[in-house]
Symmetry: D2
Subunit: 255 residues, 4 copies
Amino acid sequence: MRLNLNADLGESYGAYVMGNDHELLQLVNSANVACGLHGGDPHVMTTTLDLAIRAGVSIGVHPGFADLHGFGRRPMQLSATEIRAILLYQIGALDAIARGFETTVTHVKPHGALNNMACESAELAAIVASAVRDYNRELILLAPALSELAAAGERAGLSVALELFADRRYSDSGHLLPRSVPGSVLHDPQDCVDQVLAMVEQQGIVCHSGKCLPTCFHSICVHGDNQDAVATARLIRQALTDRGCTLLPLPQMLC
Amino acid sequence: MRLNLNADLGESYGAYVMGNDHELLQLVNSANVACGLHGGDPHVMTTTLDLAIRAGVSIGVHPGFADLHGFGRRPMQLSATEIRAILLYQIGALDAIARGFETTVTHVKPHGALNNMACESAELAAIVASAVRDYNRELILLAPALSELAAAGERAGLSVALELFADRRYSDSGHLLPRSVPGSVLHDPQDCVDQVLAMVEQQGIVCHSGKCLPTCFHSICVHGDNQDAVATARLIRQALTDRGCTLLPLPQMLC
Amino acid sequence: MRLNLNADLGESYGAYVMGNDHELLQLVNSANVACGLHGGDPHVMTTTLDLAIRAGVSIGVHPGFADLHGFGRRPMQLSATEIRAILLYQIGALDAIARGFETTVTHVKPHGALNNMACESAELAAIVASAVRDYNRELILLAPALSELAAAGERAGLSVALELFADRRYSDSGHLLPRSVPGSVLHDPQDCVDQVLAMVEQQGIVCHSGKCLPTCFHSICVHGDNQDAVATARLIRQALTDRGCTLLPLPQMLC
Amino acid sequence: MRLNLNADLGESYGAYVMGNDHELLQLVNSANVACGLHGGDPHVMTTTLDLAIRAGVSIGVHPGFADLHGFGRRPMQLSATEIRAILLYQIGALDAIARGFETTVTHVKPHGALNNMACESAELAAIVASAVRDYNRELILLAPALSELAAAGERAGLSVALELFADRRYSDSGHLLPRSVPGSVLHDPQDCVDQVLAMVEQQGIVCHSGKCLPTCFHSICVHGDNQDAVATARLIRQALTDRGCTLLPLPQMLC
């Protein structure tokens, strides 16, 4: 069995520190790196790539809405031209910094509200997928399993890596329960491990009701914005390797 | 005789309009396009590239300090790592948007305080030149004649296009007279034309004192942030073509 | 007959110039001054107040959403605490700059999407009105006639100045026709004058259909972001004074 | 003996958390609250004032340069008009939010580079002092002992509270040793306590060399941007109260 662990990283901004990038980079296989619009800045991007390269972690673009104050979590109604523009902008910016290290970005995963909206709107998902493809058709699109975004990536001819969340409960339709629903976010590291193992065993999304929606998947997203999350990532990594799972960066995972 | 006319464009931001991009794009051969840190935004960059491509104008990156409020005109003391990061970021961002139009950027010209500082500091100039080269050694560096930036570009193995200013007086050392010196900025379009023609005739920088500093040059920068500037650009273009000068985009100019 | 002419001013930002403040200040009686969140900055606010004071124009706060890139025109979903915070922040900031000139602000008029949303939501309108009152119960609330915002101002015990728009068509419900509806924005200065005169004569909102919604009103808003708008303001001013109307700043108007 | 403990607070921004405001507010007597230009935002300001009021901590304005990315720590060359504008803006903004709680700000302490520059330049210090006075001559200016800023406050007729730093070494001239000098920042909480007690005992600045520069002082600044700092603040508070020192908010301290 092969799997990938991914995390959102490089979201600090100037003097503002967000997350535990250094520790998480020792635990995950692929990093989704913020690009300066919802978080991150050119210097933070450089530092993050430097650390990721040393840790053997594959580098992805994590483009978000241009909304530092809202951290890209507020829905914004933009035209198709604007969506395409902010995607190309952020992909190119991070890829250039990667090129400065003689490497390249290998995947794209939208951030926050942009990701949520693209998971539900086939139209928005198609704009995202075509921007990624038009930049580089070799890029992997990292998208939630059973989402419109994943479907749009397939239609655009991209390699799509499907992800599941370790710390979020799912509804029977395969969507994340909103954060406002009590119990929708798992805080106990052991609960997260149990959910991941159940999904691995049943090969699908194990919903809050116990129902299983069968789907293949390639990656588990671990969030990293508190100390618990580092502990959670460590436990998940351990549990998977204990069961003989090989953890790989996304490009190797999809080979 | 062959020459290039260049102008800074795409500096609008959201609802804020700067310059007369549409008119200037009919007059110049190469556009230096802002990249969202000192001016411009992803949507403005897209619109500007669309217009430039239709006008047959070659596209350059115009990277500046991350200072929208100061429009990149305030000196900032950044580390070498930070300077390299903001350059790669902006070059990559614009190049990605160009790739969305199935084209590519062909030159880089730093903006404002970053440009001024790199023209005087060999150390800063070397950082700029190596960032450009590490992104793509085919990129042309557009730099003021007789500047440290031009010298650093040559040392880095880049093609360097040397530029002169139509509307600024020069000191005997070949530097621009500061804007604070009365008469340092030429407002009368005919004065600008006269200065350009004198430089073409004497093949060098004609200083305020009348002294000529011999230098080859490839491009004339015309500023575009007021209506007079459009008139000036039109007059210069006319005067040069009247004298049999062929006006070319930068890549063709340097062939 | 007494009336007030008001305009949105001080919306420039750093090197970005917006509007024709200098000319409009010679024509209107009250200025709604941006406060640095959707437009304007502390220096522009200072310059604008200096000009307004010299012109004998009364000064109002024009608070908007914290969205420079969208110029405060994009709807944002904020909590009641956040709305109250951005209102107090902007009112206090401008009033302090006024105090630096030994004067004070005398009215508040929300900007853009914040204004539109407060005109339709009684709940949001109440938050706005109470923030204004809690800062200073002597402040005048400048609000569109027949809006929820005007009603909330009355309920909060504020003096409310009711405004009509010179250059926008109204639906039969007394709301502005959306800008997307052809003909909803009047571009011809004479059309604007005709609408204002009809409203003055019929003492109410003259809708696009010809229907009149009777309402008292105290102020006419003239927009100032293009040259035509200055011409329009001049024509309206002339037409009103020709008919014997006395044009007054808001505090004198409501005495 | 009476003293005041002050700390910089409210420097978080949107989703970005800075410092341990909640814990520090239980330990200090006066809070210097960021105002949205170098850190903080209207919502954070509101939350911080709410906490400070509950904790019985007096509220001061902590105005900085408009430089979120540099956290107000980068020197900026602004005109006198601009300096005055950013001071009035920030003082008024925070005071308005205080007014929303039916209270008021009672002191001003500039932040970061603005503070450092005003401590060394009599001209800049005079601009700062007159802006504070012109807003409200009852405001206390909190300034480092022996600084140009303190002198300018006196000359402007303001009440000046003089502060010393617990965690920074001083040169023989009474200036802080630059952070670049090894040992200039004290990290061990006990070292900070020892320095404070030596200053209290010798009634002056105890320099790195051991020399004492006699000066009266009213307040000790404790920094709060890491866990150690909370421990340091707690130890200093304990050591001072153990020695019979009464710790007071600034207005009571200066009565």
